[in-house]
């Protein structure tokens, strides 16, 4: 590598390139786009959970402003199925046909010059709906006499799975304790601050349908749209402009995207839809609603001998493309043992169809639930055995000498020292001081509790992982096109989409590492299917590893060429030069990148013999092994609870984290903290409950709480850096990790605090009311 200047390369806390436009209010989000003649769309969405759809009465003056399923019958429905023959799949049409299956399902689209006018038109239409029983909960949908949501199905379950690994009989026999519990997580949303949005129009000159979407995966979306409306991919372009947060909710092919694209095509008219917050909460994919029945078999020291789990996920009314309705349960089954050594394991899962908003990926995906179930069980086991939960964890955590480690479910944990993260967290939070503070008691009579949680997170899933899941797409690689301009600056064209992760900076740092070019001289172009080679997008904690790897390969090859040309200009050989500070150096002389670039682009006569002109290099990167790079962490927190009111406060929160080699520690920390805030939302605040008519009860920010500035503590963070053996520079993904452990850590801290009252919290979000209920039931039947 050629870099005497490492100050901006891998490992440097470089400030972000993207800040300037965002701070100056020049970020351009979907709603800010100006395409002349654009009409705005408002959807008529189902007000009921389950009904046969009769006529939609449209006032005659609006007959050219309102469009129904029949108007878009040329668009194919969205079908997301795994390759498991048992999977029962759904067909989600752009607009509902015949039947509606959740509150918020789209029935019609109204267009007008402003959104307000489009909403007026929507208001003036009347729906004929013949209501059917609402299957508003997993238990209701799986009751023996439950009507079918999709008439051709066997039952209301997308997929049932059943695995049994290791000698569970023996574990049951050898165990001195077998502890069972039921645990559950509430349903909630991903809730990016910018809601979703789509704008589609036909570019007449190029004969191209241009679709702007607030999406995390523009190239994949292009494929979806082209297939759904039978256009060649060469006639579809998808552009994600600035995107105001995604967190998974913008990494799906949505019926809104399909409808707007199809309608813009049909009418040859620019049309835009901007989701409002109510639509976002009721109709954007939901997250997290899992129920667990777990049994852990252990000996008297707390050593885990076996684990059994029944996992049920409320996947909602349709299977979300491409992840499928079985994604959450499937991931939980695979990762439930987590960072712990589990020698015998049996898991059954059900992905259940209900009359609710479809469930899609959200930061952490199945792992937040799996970690919650596993770590709450470990604390319960420790309480039962009168052991310290920290000791039980340390006893069961996989040891560094066992790395690489194959988990019982076949996951290949690549590297790391899990117990060390736990020990560092215990030291940082000062567990001894907390225990003595607990012994002394609080002046204000609040109760103090300590909780911790450890996870391991598969990131940068490669080909092997996606193939094993049997999804419609295998997201195994990422491309980069590195282009040196005649003035010696670099443009990186990449297939990922940056929406807060800092990739316009961190990918430039990779270029700096390889080419010695200043980060400020690198422009990262992303989020546009026409500017980069085909790429998969940003999700699954993959972009830095995958696109970073691709940028590294492309820039490495570019560096070789630059050195050859630079050496020629300096009248020496390529092995005698180095690259740094934007120049090619020999010991005594140097030539600037722009002189090299000028030779390669404008003056081929200056090139060495046999050297091709041009400085564009395209590369594709796949990690050496595609089984994933495993990041891991321990979260530790201290909570105070008022047993009289149920009010809670986070007194301290520590994260000890290992995401392999850090490209930019400033960005790493901020990604972790942002994830922790969202995890605390899952733990304490966020919920979209449904009533027994299938009506969602949180549809505004007045009844749906995301954590505010006063709710999130100052997170203290420590880093371990164990490079992944499989990836370029040893990078592991980290975007999601912060959101995995908070529910487990918080619930463990609360149960520790309330131990003397016999309270047992088993459900998120933990509201003050649920604390009081747990205290009450603890008092009725003390442990």
């Amino acid at each position: 590598m050629n870099h005497s200047d490492t100050k901006q390369g891998i490992g440097a806390a470089v400030k972000r390139n993207e800040d300037e436009r965002l701070l100056n209010g020049q970020g351009t989000y979907l709603a800010d786009l100006e395409i002349p003649g654009t009409l705005e769309a408002a959807f008529i969405r189902s007000p009921v959970a389950h009904a046969r759809l009769g006529a939609v009465k449209v006032p005659s003056e609006y007959s050219h402003h309102v469009f129904l399923a029949a108007d878009l019958d040329f668009a194919h429905p969205i079908v997301a199925a795994t390759d498991d023959p048992q999977f029962q799949s759904t067909k989600q049409f752009a607009l509902a046909k015949d039947k509606v299956r959740f509150v918020g399902e789209m029935i019609a689209v109204c267009i007008a010059p402003t959104r307000a006018q489009a909403e007026d038109i929507a208001q003036s239409c009347e729906l004929e709906l013949d209501e059917l029983p609402a299957l508003w909960d997993m238990d209701v949908a799986t009751a023996p006499d439950a009507p079918l949501i999709h008439e051709h199905w066997r039952d209301n379950v997308y997929l049932k799975t059943d695995v049994s690994l290791g000698d569970l009989e023996r574990a049951r026999k050898d165990a001195t304790i077998s502890l069972s519990k039921s645990l559950s997580m509430g349903r909630h949303g991903a809730v990016p601050l910018e809601c979703r949005g789509v704008l589609a129009h036909r570019d007449r000159r190029l004969n191209e349908l241009t679709v702007y979407s607030s999406t995390q995966f523009p190239h994949v979306l292009r494929t979806c749209i082209s297939r759904a409306i039978d256009l060649p991919e060469s006639q579809v372009r998808v552009i994600a402009p600035d995107v105001g947060g995604g967190f998974g909710a913008k990494g799906n092919f949505s019926p809104e995207e399909l409808t707007i694209a199809a309608l813009a095509m049909k009418l040859d008219q620019p049309i835009r839809w901007i989701e409002d917050r109510r639509e976002n909460l009721i109709a954007s994919p939901h997250a997290r609603e899992h129920r667990y029945d777990v049994t852990v078999h252990a000996n008297n020291d707390g050593l885990i001998l076996g684990l059994e789990a029944m996992i049920r996920v409320d996947a909602g009314a349709y299977s979300v493309w491409p992840w499928t309705a079985a994604m959450e349960a499937g991931m939980v089954v695979g990762i439930l043992p987590g960072p712990y050594h589990v020698p015998a394991y049996a898991a059954k899962s059900q992905s259940i169809c209900t009359n609710k908003t479809p469930m899609g990926p959200y930061r952490g995906v199945g792992r937040t639930g799996a970690c919650f179930a596993m770590d709450v069980m470990i604390d319960a086991l420790a309480r039962e055995l009168h052991l310290d939960p920290a000791d039980v964890r340390l006893l069961n955590l996989i040891k560094p000498e066992d790395m690489p480690y194959q988990s019982i479910t076949g996951k290949q944990y690549d590297s790391g020292d899990y117990p060390e993260a736990a020990r560092q967290a215990l030291a940082a939070i000062d567990i001894d001081a907390i225990r003595s503070r607990q012994a002394t008691g609080e002046k204000d009579d609040r109760l103090i509790g300590f909780g911790m949680s450890c996870y391991t997170e598969q990131t940068a899933h490669g080909t092997a992982e996606w193939v094993s899941r049997g999804l419609p797409v295998v997201f195994g690689y990422e491309p980069a096109l590195a282009r040196l301009t005649p003035d010696g600056k670099l443009i990186l064209h990449v297939g990922i989409q940056n929406h807060g992760q800092g990739l316009e900076t961190t990918l430039a740092q990779v270029a700096n590492e390889e080419l010695g070019i200043a980060v400020a001289d690198v422009v990262v172009r992303h989020g546009d299917s026409s500017v980069s080679p085909y790429g998969m997008g940003t999700f699954g904690s993959r972009s830095m590893t995958m696109a970073g790897g691709a940028v590294s390969v492309a820039c490495g090859q570019l560096a070789d060429k630059v050195k050859r040309i630079g050496a020629h200009l300096l009248q020496t050989t390529a092995d005698a030069v180095t690259l740094s500070d934007g120049r090619v150096h020999t010991e005594t002389a140097s030539v600037a990148l722009n002189e090299v670039a000028e030779a390669a682009t404008l003056h081929p006569e200056r090139l060495p013999e046999g050297e091709e002109p041009g400085l564009d290099i395209s590369a594709v990167y796949e990690p050496k092994r595609s089984t994933g790079a495993f990041s891991y962490a321990t979260h530790a927190c201290v909570m105070a609870v008022d047993p009289g009111t149920g009010e809670m406060e986070i007194l301290d929160y520590v994260v000890v984290h290992d995401c392999g080699r850090m490209v930019n520690p400033m960005i790493v920390e901020a990604q972790v903290v942002g994830g922790v805030a969202q995890g605390l939302g899952t733990a304490l605040y966020e919920e979209i409950p449904y009533d027994n008519n299938g009506q969602p009860l949180s549809s505004t920010f007045l009844d749906y709480m995301i954590p505010g500035c006063a709710e999130v503590p100052d997170v203290r963070m420590l880093h371990i850096e164990t490079p992944s053996p499989h990836t370029k520079y040893g990078i592991k993904g980290l975007g999601e990790g912060g959101a995995i452990s908070p529910p487990a850590a918080v619930v463990n801290a609360l149960n520790d605090a309330l131990k003397s009252l016999g309270a047992d919290i088993t459900q998120t979000p933990v509201t003050p009311l649920r604390v009081l209920e747990a205290i009450e039931s603890g008092a009725v039947s003390p442990l």
Partner: protein
């Protein structure tokens, strides 16, 4: 129903006739193309749409344009040359106080107001003072650090 109204936006007098239901946010964004003002909820909770009305921070999504006759409206665009805002922006850059940038304009305007009223806030006071602005990305830590740094830099300026 349409009504006419005259007001001042970023120092420029504006006379217009608008629907009486048009929010200030929509007026700024759709009619004046001032798109630094973002909409995160349109019901007065998230603070993304914060602007200054007669120098006071206000939620432009729930302010009606027609009720603002004679008012002075200032958006982030109108504070481009404001020395305090430049220092605040620099601090947000230095302390990584933004990720996707969607909450950022509202956050910057609220920060400027907070530091005017409380030039040397504690970290808790910053958290309290910004509790009306939601950010889904940062977990607020970078924002709090940025505001504390801006306070120092403003004091030194």
């Amino acid at each position: 129903m349409k009504q006419s109204v005259s007001l001042t936006v970023n120092g420029r007098p504006v006379e217009t006739t608008v629907e009486s239901r048009l929010s200030l946010a929509d007026f700024l964004r759709l009619e004046l193309r001032l798109t630094a003002t973002h909409l995160g909820c349109e019901h007065g909770v998230c603070g993304a749409c914060t602007v200054l009305i007669d120098g006071e921070p206000a939620r432009s999504c729930i302010a009606l344009t027609v009720s603002l006759g004679g008012a002075q409206i200032t958006t982030l665009e109108g504070l481009a040359d404001d020395p305090a805002m430049q220092i605040i922006k620099q601090a947000f850059h230095d302390k990584h106080g933004l990720q996707c940038g969607f909450c950022t304009p509202g956050m910057l305007i609220s920060t400027r107001d907070l530091l005017k009223r409380t030039p040397k806030p504690s970290a808790d006071a910053v958290r309290e003072g910004l509790s009306g602005n939601l950010c889904r990305c940062t977990g607020y830590q970078g924002i709090v650090r940025a505001v504390l740094k801006a306070a120092e830099d403003l004091a030194a300026a």
